[in-house]
Structure formats: C-alpha cells, structure tokens
C-alpha cells in the first residue's frame, strides 16, 4: 500500500473510533438530562437528611418535567439568585398554598404567612436554622426545578429512599439510636 493509502486508512479508523466515543457521550448526556443522574450534595441546609458533605444521591428528571413534583419532595433547583448554581431543598408548598414560616428561628419566634403565587413553589431546607431558601429569596417559579432526589447512595450506612418528610434522626446513626434505646 502506498503511503497515502496507509494514512487514509488510519484517518478512517480514528474517525470511526471517535464516532463511537461521541455516541457513548451522547447516550450518557441524554440519560442525565432526561432520565436521571447522580449528584453530590453538600452544605448544612438539609441536615439531617443529607450530611454536611459528600453525600451521593440519585435524582430523576421526569417528575419535574411533567409537573409531578409536589409537597414533600426533595428537589434540585437552579438558584434564583445565581443561575449557575444548583441548590437542593424540600418543597413545602405548591401554588395556592398558605405557608406560615418562622422568619429567623435562631433569633426570634416571629412568623410570617404568604400565599404561594401561581406557577411557583415554596422550598425550605430541612435544617431551618442554617438554610438559605424561600424564606430569603421568596417563592421560586416551577420552571427552575430541575430534578427530584429519590435515593441516597453514599454513605452506605444511610443507603435508602428519601421520604416526603424530613428525617428527625441522622439516618447514618439510626441503628445506633435504636440500639441505645433498647
């Protein structure tokens, strides 16, 4: 084979292999955007449901796209104050609900009541003492909800589904608590 033919053969092989890689990344991207993906959540605002850092969770993108996310669901949403940031909070009210919340639980008992406007949801972190949520930035348009977290993968001691009510005990310590009580 002449030099040119050899070179053309190599180029064709390289193109074929890169198409295969591109198709793989395409499939991964489609799954992550339309079906579900994993995510690392960190921060104190969802204690004790999620620990302070490096919790790996599974989130699905079908419920939020179809309007099926409701009260009690833990969701990932685009922050209304910084569109490049994604935050994890729990929906505590849908449009039309009347929400009574404690404005600043660390400092006072003052409460406020709002009605969630049409097309919006009210989100709060499970750890109301250290959470920057709808009590600060107001109700969030439903269109900013990007996914629903339904399963926790890591740490393995807390492996399991995420329920519709905030946990009252750190799930990783649940066995210890039960052993202490008995």
């Amino acid at each position: 084979m002449s030099l040119f033919q050899q070179w053309a053969f190599l180029v064709k092989e390289a193109l074929d292999k890169s198409f295969l890689v591109a198709k793989f990344f395409c499939a991964v991207h489609v799954t992550n955007t339309y079906l579900g993906s994993t995510a690392v959540v960190y921060g104190p605002s969802m204690l004790p449901t999620f620990s302070l850092n490096n919790d790996l969770v599974l989130l699905e993108r079908i419920s939020t796209r179809n309007g099926k996310a409701g009260t009690g669901d833990v969701v990932v949403l685009q922050s209304p104050e910084n569109p490049r940031k994604f935050v994890t909070k729990r929906i505590t009210g849908m449009e039309g609900d009347k929400i009574t919340y404690i404005v600043d639980p660390k400092n006072s008992d003052k409460t406020e009541t709002v009605i969630v406007p049409k097309g919006h949801v009210w989100v709060q972190g499970d750890n109301v003492y250290n959470s920057y949520d709808s009590r600060n930035f107001g109700p969030v348009p439903y269109g900013l909800l990007k996914g629903k977290i339904f399963w926790k993968i890591w740490p393995t001691s807390a492996f399991g589904s995420i329920g519709r009510r905030p946990e009252t005990v750190d799930p990783a310590l649940k066995d210890l608590e039960q052993a202490n009580q008995s």
Partner: protein, 164 residues
C-alpha cells in the same frame, strides 16, 4: 426450506434495523441542534407589536448565548413563563440585575410610573407593545435561569425577513 425462509426474514429484519438506526441518528442530530444550538420557533400574540406580528412569525432563536451569560438589555428572549411552566413567552429584556427600572404601570389608563431595582440573578422584561403585554410589570422580575433562548431574526413571513 424453513432455513431459507428464516434466512430471508433475518436479512430483511437486519436491513430495516439498519435503516431505522439511520433515521434515529438523524432525529437525534435534529433534536440536539434544536435544543442546544438554534431552531425555528413560531411566536404569536399582541405583546411584541410592531416588532413581531399578531398572527405569528417564524423566528430563528439560538440557545447558546443564555448559557454563556451573554443576554443583555435590548435582546428579545424566549422565557419560560413564571406563571405557567409549560408556556414559553417572548419578551424583550429591558434591565439586568442591579439596574433601576422605571416603568409605566398601566399605560392605557394612567401616567403613573414606578421605579424598581432588579434583584440579583433576575432580569426585567417587557413586551414592545406595553398596552397589551403581560410581562414583568405584572409578574415581577424573573430569575435569569428561566431564559431559554435568544431570538435572532425572522424567517417568515418573507417580507419581514431579517434581524429584529
């Protein structure tokens, strides 16, 4: 005899799967382009007169700028309505976060105006036809994250062809 029939059937099945794969790849490419690069969009309604027609225009909108943060005042954008997440509306961005916006509250009835500072992470949009537009004067500043694309030019009707 059976073997021959089976051979023919499997050849047909293989060919149809190959052709279906080509069609699937084409649809995939079309979908990726329409979602992430640009696509034609039909827009209608009175709120952007006289820029856009009442009965519908086909415009070319691109989906790259808003991801890079390049949307600014004066751009006509497609946003997800904050009142109904299934609806997409077309309005013009008037002010970005931190700007003070003075607007006429209800121009068909009075000359009353209000001034508001756009909060962090939000934009203020208004339709070009302020007499018949449900926009930020009604539902307030909207988070930047609701912007889905930027309208670049009109392709139909042909006598209105060109950038807006």
């Amino acid at each position: 005899m059976m073997k021959q029939l089976f051979g023919k059937w499997s050849a047909i099945a293989k060919e149809s799967i190959d052709r279906a794969a080509i069609v699937a790849k084409l649809l995939c490419l079309l979908h990726v382009t329409n979602t992430y690069i640009f696509s034609p969009t039909l827009v209608y309604g009175p709120s952007m007169l006289p820029t856009l027609n009442l009965t519908g225009d086909v415009v070319l909108s691109e989906y790259v700028s808003h991801r890079l943060g390049k949307v600014g005042p004066g751009d006509v954008v497609l946003v997800q309505s904050p009142e109904n997440p299934r609806k997409m509306i077309t309005k013009r961005v008037v002010a970005m976060e931190g700007d003070a916006v003075s607007y006429l509250v209800d121009p068909s009835r009075s000359d009353r105006s209000r001034t508001i500072v756009v909060p962090k992470g939000h934009v203020w949009n208004q339709g070009d036809n302020i007499y018949a537009s449900n926009d930020s004067r009604n539902f307030g500043p909207i988070p930047y994250g609701l912007i889905q694309g930027k309208v670049r030019c009109r392709v139909w009707p042909l006598d209105g062809f060109g950038s807006l």
